[in-house]
Symmetry: C2
Subunit: 256 residues, 2 copies
Amino acid sequence: MSDSETESETESERMRCISCREEYRKRDAGTCKECYEEASETEEELKREIEDLKAKVAFLRFWSPVDHHFSPCFTDVVLVASDDDCGNLAPVPVRAHKAVLVSRSPVFKAMLENEMEESRSGTIKIGDVSYDALRSFVQYLYTAEACLDEQLACDLLVLAEKYQVKHLKAFCEKFMMSKLNWDNAVGNFAFAHQHNAKHLLEAALSLITDNMDKLTKREEYMELVEKDPRLVVEIYEAYLSKQVNTAAPKESSMKL
Amino acid sequence: MSDSETESETESERMRCISCREEYRKRDAGTCKECYEEASETEEELKREIEDLKAKVAFLRFWSPVDHHFSPCFTDVVLVASDDDCGNLAPVPVRAHKAVLVSRSPVFKAMLENEMEESRSGTIKIGDVSYDALRSFVQYLYTAEACLDEQLACDLLVLAEKYQVKHLKAFCEKFMMSKLNWDNAVGNFAFAHQHNAKHLLEAALSLITDNMDKLTKREEYMELVEKDPRLVVEIYEAYLSKQVNTAAPKESSMKL
């Protein structure tokens, strides 16, 4: 359809959209009525499926033993943040159920089913973690929910990696990707590398290689060269490969 | 738009649907392009949400202690079908976790948290139920899934009602409604009444009152008159109320 054809349309040739009820011209036409009706039905079906799944999640969601609205009951194990800085106070234990830990993490499964020290004593020491992070970790195992900030997302991703809780790891990674920016890109790249967070790594690397001209001035860059030069090499290799793969001239990406 | 207008449309006035790629005429137009694009985005978003929820369900779904792929571990209670007809054999116990039972059913919660007989002995006797139904019941508490047939749906609805597991009750009711037909309508009506299954009751009642001319010849009807005439009165009252509320003449519904 040529533009001149469209422009010659008279008022009577306009149609009214059966969704938004606005008038539109032929060139702005979308679907036929049949497809519109099918799409509406599909949307309704998807919404019903979402309602069903939400109800299922609510049903399956365990009450949390660290939620103050519920008193923990029938717990048979405690988790303790072994590096918790409580001064002279004994660390606060987080009560839990072996059955839940075992069903969520293959590491807890091996630990508790094989009559190891933790199974006999009923106490699992979790190193390098604060009480708050540990509490959120356990809460996630019961509810698949956590109220993240950037620090907590890092802490939980480390725990998720250590105890192989894939669902939590993906949850944290998604959150961290949503917070990714130029200021935290290098830090996130190093962190993702250390904890095997592939999606975050790719996103951070892509952001860095899009801003190579600003990279070498950053403090985090200089620190990384000092601390882990192999990671810096990876950045340069990714940059080189991007340049080879895209037809865009070198100058255009340097100007970004 | 009049029919004569539409019929005068020439070949060039036809449009191509951007969804099914078929040509359509002005009178078969659906939405404008903008609404189509918005709807497509919405659909993609809903699908992503469904994927996320499915992953959450998979994460929260407890392994089942009665699933043979898993060995039950750290269980602290057994359920026994007390009316199980095993001849001289002792009934097979179904192992479970108090914490799971308590989180899914307020009846188990009261039973187990209040140091009643069941809590002390670690054995819960479930009356009037087969081993298979009990096993499916416990499995549902762990997984929110059951492979229903009509008999199992009845059995589980009874258990769900008794132990106040709303999610399971709704699940069974939905299944039974999908299997509702003229042959089982009276039976389902009486069953729904007995077990307080409102949606099933309404659906069965509606089917019955649409077929009043055939009702009195049915064996189940005569049995119901004998056994529980108040339920029969309810059917007649619903029929009367339907006649009053709809403008349709009596004859049309009698002919169905």
